[in-house]
Amino acid sequence: MGVTKHLAAVVLAAAVAAGPASLATAADGEAVQAVKARQDLMKSIGGNVKGLREMLQGKNTDTAADAQRRAEEIAESARQIAVLFEPEYHISNVGDIETTAKPELWTDYEDFTSKATALEEASGELALAAQTEDMNAIKTAFGDMSKTCGGCHQAYRVKKD
């Protein structure tokens, strides 16, 4: 099945991005693999956001080239979001694995995927801004990108305590 193959590729990509610690095992069902993969994907995005932010705050030694790489990685992750949240990986299909996805994500699936596309575009803009090496432009593009994260999480993620 095309989707399954696609999922396998995405799971692998996400696992590589997140490192071996959280590799989904073959014994897990496909839906569980999808949940683990999307959690790893979010962690990977979060790690890159944190790195970008620390660069802007002068807390790490990242260069504009690092910022560009991180932005491109985020764009790549954003492209995988829709696949990992496909309707067959609905929270009701994933057994007792913990997930903070809201059911609305699937009832408003089109809106959800358009928000993922917004992240992909905004991180693409950030990568372009990074090429200019203009810190103000990078900061503005980073802010615009971060807002796409917040808008989507606000709508589709259960709030953590």
């Binding site: 995005i45 979060g46 790690g47 890159n48 956001v49 944190k50 790195g51 932010r53 705050q57 980073f142 802010g143 971060s146 807002k147 994260c149 917040g150 808008g151 999480h153 606000q154 993620r157 709030k159 953590k160 305590d161």
Partner: protein, 309 residues
């Protein structure tokens, strides 16, 4: 023409000659033009200022039913609290269903005293307890901005409160216990930046309404100012934002705070939770960098309180 003849009479009776008269007329016309231009400028500046304050005061968050794509400020968003469910009313400039018929005095009285134009008292779910410390000028800038928006003919939904909290007649008593009409000076004796931050946090953005725990009757426990609350709106836990290292945000830098206020980002690369995102998006993100820094300076100057909500 009558006006001209009157002017002629004035000219004749005055020592100014005809050139002087022409100059006087030109000067009058110029003054009138400049006056108009200045008031147009003042008007647009006031609207701009009002737009930012409106965002920072979070008016749209409660007065718009965003969940159901309701029209801006037409009311209807539910605020679930331990006392029952509040529905914020229509505050569009519609003369019948909104506040379009309100005078400046009506608007100021509502925000300063929590009293409606008909003399009835508002429940403190409308945070006049904070807005009371805003300046008249800022209140009127917000009013000007609201009045520039679209009027919506939509009836406001009544609150659904549990007994005895539904007893509106008891509100003056509640106010006597828990409300001190302003404007009172905030963070007196502190540096200007901290005082500006205090004004934004305490009067405008009313952060304490969620981040400070409440007593049994819903009054804020001021001894726990901004130390977090375990029963915020929608039943959410609201974090401690005093600079306590263990339970608050003592390990945050000033720009950790401004990153949150401007982009909704947490230091760990995550984004803020749902209700705070509403506060940031089209809210604190509209404030100038100086104002966001002022809020950070104020929060960092607070006494740290150890409290884990």
């Amino acid at each position: 023409m009558r006006i001209v003849s009157e002017l002629d009479e004035i000219a004749i009776s005055s020592p100014i000659g005809s050139t002087g008269r022409a100059l006087a007329l030109a000067a009058t016309a110029l003054a009138a033009f400049l006056g108009l231009a200045a008031s147009a400028m003042a008007q647009s500046e006031m609207l701009e200022r009002g737009a930012v304050l409106f965002a920072a005061a979070g008016c749209a968050n409660c007065h718009t039913d965003r969940k159901n794509q309701g029209p801006l400020l037409a009311g209807g968003r539910s605020l679930i609290t331990p006392f029952g469910t509040f529905y914020a009313p229509n505050i569009t400039p519609h003369p019948e269903f909104g506040i379009g018929a309100w005078s400046d005095e009506d608007f100021i009285r509502a925000l300063r005293e929590g009293v409606a134009p008909d003399g009835s008292h508002y429940f403190p779910s409308f945070p006049y307890t904070s807005y009371t410390n805003m300046t008249d000028e800022d209140m009127l800038a917000i009013k000007a901005y609201i009045f520039s928006l679209e009027p919506v003919a939509q009836e406001s939904r009544p609150h659904e409160l549990d007994f005895p909290y539904d007893q509106r007649w008891a509100l003056p008593f509640w106010k006597w216990l828990h409300f001190e009409p302003g404007p009172k000076p905030l963070a007196e004796g502190q540096p200007d930046e901290v005082r500006r931050g205090a004004y934004l946090v305490e009067a405008v953005s009313h952060c304490g309404e969620c981040h400070t725990p409440r007593g049994r009757l819903g009054g804020l426990d001021r001894s726990m100012w901004l130390a977090g609350s375990s029963d915020g709106a929608e039943g959410e836990k609201v974090p401690n934002i005093t600079p306590d290292a263990e339970t608050g945000i003592g390990d945050w830098s000033a720009d950790d705070i401004t990153f949150l206020l401007s982009m909704g980002l947490l230091p760990d690369g995550d984004v803020v939770g749902s209700t705070m995102w509403e506060v940031v998006s089209d809210g604190t993100d509209q404030l100038s960098a100086e104002d966001q820094e002022a809020i950070a300076a104020y929060l960092m100057a607070l006494p740290p309180i150890e409290h884990r909500p």
